[in-house]
Amino acid sequence: MSFIELKNVCKQYANTNKKAVTDFNLKIDEKEFIAFVGPSGCGKSTTLRMIAGFEDITSGELYIDGKKMNEVAPRDRGISMVFQNYALYPHMTVEKNISYGLKNMKVPADEIKRKVDWAIEILGLSEYRYRKPKNLSGGQRQRVALGRAIVKDQKVFLMDEPLSNLDAKLRVSMRNEISKLHRNLGSTTIYVTHDQVEAMTMADRIVIMKDGIVQQIGKPMELYEHPVNKFVAGFIGSPQMNFYNVKVDGNKISFTDGNSMVLNDEMADKLRNYKEVILGIRGEDIKFDPQNLDIFKENKQRAVIDNTEIMGNENNLYFEFGGSSSVARVSKYEVSDVGEEIEFVFVPHRMHFFDKVTEDAIVL
Amino acid sequence: CIVLTTVGCQKSTHEAGSISGYDEGEKYLSIWVHSIEDTDEGKCYREAVESFNKAYDGKYFADIEFIPRNDSGGGYSDKINASVMSGDLPDVLTVDGPNIAAYAENGIIQPLAEISEKEKSEYLESIIEQGTYNDKLYALGAMESSVGLYYNKDILKEAGIDVPDADHPWTFSEFLKVLEKVKKVTDKKKGYALDMTFPVGEATIYYYAPFFWSNGGNLIDNTGLKADGVFNSKENVSTINYFCRLLSNGYMSKVPIDHLFESGRAAFKFDGAWEVNTVYTSYKDINIGVVPYITGDNWNGERYTPTGSWAFAASSKTKNIEGATELVKWMSGVESGKRLWEKSKSFPSTYKAYESIDVFKKDENYKELYYQLSKYGHPRPKTPAYPQVSTSFQQVLENCVLTGEDPKTQLDKSVERINAKLKRYTYK
């Protein structure tokens, strides 16, 4: 049996005429690390807060460890939470912040000490034990917030964008720390973020949402390789997948700027019933190397580079093609200059097709 | 016109022609009054000044300024104080009766020019008395005031009490007996025999100093500079004890109750002359009468009843004392008094005025008040330390009667305070 279960959970805020979350269904196993991801305002925080008990569930059911939780007070749900801005108690020292919950739970003093020592130890906060939050750096505060959550031995761990206030470097390293901590503690974790990189790198499974509706639930690579619709395809991966409106004509597809490509038979077959589709291809599946150009030579295309981004280990090339701005991701050895004309191919079995109207993926 | 004044058309220069009615050849006289033009009183002053300008056309021109005064006496007097410092006093100004001594002593006002005995005799004696300091006449009032001892005719009738005539007031002891009888009636009405309070401010000394005077005491000696042995005399102690008995016998309420008399729950009340008018207009079902102010047991006919009001005086800054005196006389004269009575029901200050007003002949209450005023009116103490005397008086009564402090100690303490203020004058 699953450990946390949401059944048709809906949320409508008072004074609004739109549901913030619609028919949310999810089963989470014990010890799983689940990420909720989606653009701002899609209902991630709302869902998390319903699980925590800070928002009423308008309709639907929530079970944790087999018990229905809809009417249970937050404190009694057996969860702990890491807040977006940490919500540390500003006038308490690091130690007090961490021990506050245990004290309120009437845990014996020596037990508290043991636990706090342990948390401070594994989070590397010994030096800051008696400091107050305002004298800590962002990363340190983040760790105190984690400490406060882990000492309480709760079965469920909720985090609402815990890294969004950190700078890029620190975010990368905290990501790694949280992942390890999760593996060590083994608590079931739900992690909210709007940053797909965080979701991809940390989660066992990702729930991707849009406008309060779940779009797809799956393992990171599943979402990356097999997005169920254009939204997911565009949301996951950086730089964004390139999209083109194309007309299907037998086994040929033609772009709005007149270029065309030949499809293999299998594809042509699947697209038989469509007149127009959206073609999606990731930057790294646009190839410039002689080898690939040679393999897929019948579909060779040309374009002029209008911007390049040098990332060190790889480069992004921007160019206009098929009626829209496109980006290709190439290794650092394949340097091109702005203005240069290049030849490239799309790797056929890496192409994604989406219904023009519903934007759902057309499974090949 | 506001905008004009904003742009700074200020009135500090007084050129002939700059003010309408001020013509070439006229002498300019400025006059300040303690009331704003909006009030009935203010309107009277405005009219009086206009008639003065008409009467003295070609000779004088009086320019009136209205200076607001607030309940607690601020405003007008602040303005006078500040003007003394800045040297901007007008030619003529109004002064509250008890302040005349201080203003005269400190050279803010100067004696009026010679006034004939005949002219003087037109005024009530209390007015001349009030305006005289160190034997010189400084001020003349346009109005006079009085406090009456009112009674509820119905209650007294029920209690079976007859009232005495104007020259035979009840003495303290007689009044106690009267009150005892009356109390039986008023108790039934959940009221008190006497509607009497010791309000903060000027009213207390104004209402109750007569008790002291008629009981053989005084508040300050005739020079106005000595309080010791006067203010704390044993006569005054006994007067205070009389007040204490009024309270301890339950004839009066310890805390002030609004409209006790007007709602028919008290037999007697001490209040200003305006009370008659108030009852006539707002409490028509109260049957009001006036008895003579009560006196000490050994009283033998001296003046003792409350009087005093605002008066006109010439400031020491005026260079034209003749003109200023003319203006003072005009402002306080018969016509002015009649006007004030008509508009604001203030008592006039001249005999002629009373004669020409009907109610003082016909209405028994007003008649009674006028008689009391003209025959027995006694101005408040004339001393430059008057403000201290007044506050001390109020405090002594309050402390002794309401809080039960020892009268002698309280009086002695007050004497010290008064002396401290007098030091400035006795010193030189």
Partner: protein, 283 residues
């Protein structure tokens, strides 16, 4: 989460609050209700709930108001006061605002010390120095003029401090951006700083208005011409007249209070913001 228990608690709180708010409003209600009654009725109703209920609408309903409005120039005084308030609001915002801005954002000699002095000045009770103001104005020959009235009231340490507290949190980069947009400091103050600080400007304006509206002492010293008097002076003169009835007194007080309440209600949101932004930064 709203459990049933919490819902009942909310109801109880609401009930308490309504009772409390009546406690804060009853003098006003009493005042308004009785301003329509003759004195005898006021005395009669005093001890019953009728004291809070206006009399039935009949021919004499507005008697108190009519007699005030016909016998006095009270309306004129109110208009005067409004006019002074308007002048003082404008000048006060300019003078105190500029000073507050300088103290908040510009480096000039002894800035910190000035600030401290301003804070100390906030506690000086005006009553104690008003006579000296009068002397100055008299010496300048400005008695009985609007300028004379306005001059000592323009500068207000409290308002300077209020402005400074709000301006200090204005972003510096907007000033820098404006500089690059060829905007002079003075222009910046009027076209950027003030519009960006609407709530404090509103707060200062309303407080200035209240000051002017409720002030008695100063106008009573400066003004003698009836044309220039303010509403409080009118109120005082009318109510201290022995012949004025209680009902008329209440009518005048009502007339003088209603504008204040209206203005506050209109700007209450900004005032709350303004007061909060100064208060919370002090600590």
């Amino acid at each position: 989460m709203l459990t049933r228990k919490q819902k009942t608690i909310n109801w109880i709180i609401a009930a308490i609050m309504i009772v409390m708010s009546l406690f804060f409003l009853f003098p006003v209600i009493w005042m308004i209700a009785n301003s329509f009654k003759p004195d005898a009725a006021i005395t009669k109703d005093m001890n019953s709930i009728a004291a809070f209920i206006p009399p039935a609408l009949n021919g004499s309903f507005f008697d108190n108001y009519v007699s005030i409005l016909t016998n006095t120039s009270f309306i004129h005084y109110m208009l005067n006061t409004l006019f002074y308030a308007a002048i003082l609001i404008i000048l006060g915002i300019i003078v105190n605002g500029l000073a507050g801005y300088a103290l908040a954002k510009i480096n000039f000699p002894f800035k910190e010390r000035w600030l401290l002095i301003i804070m100390l000045l906030m506690i000086v009770p005006m009553e104690t120095i008003i006579t000296i103001h009068f002397l100055f104005i008299a010496k300048l020959g400005l008695l009985n003029t609007v300028i004379g009235y306005v001059l000592p009231m323009i500068v207000n340490p409290f308002n300077i401090f209020l402005f400074r507290q709000v301006f200090i949190s204005l972003p510096d980069d907007v000033y820098e951006a404006a500089q690059l947009d060829f905007c002079s400091p003075v222009k910046y103050f009027f076209t950027m700083v003030l519009p960006m600080s609407k709530s404090v400007v509103a707060t200062v304006s309303v407080f200035t208005f209240l000051n002017v509206w409720n002030d008695y002492l100063w106008p009573s010293l400066v003004f003698t011409s009836s044309d220039l008097l303010t509403a409080q002076i009118g109120l005082n003169a009318i109510t201290s007249n022995d012949n004025t009835t209680m009902g008329q007194t209440l009518a005048v007080i009502t007339m003088i209070t209603i504008p204040v309440i209206i203005i506050y209600s209109l700007f209450s949101k900004q005032i709350v913001e303004g007061v909060v932004s100064t208060g919370s930064k002090e600590g």
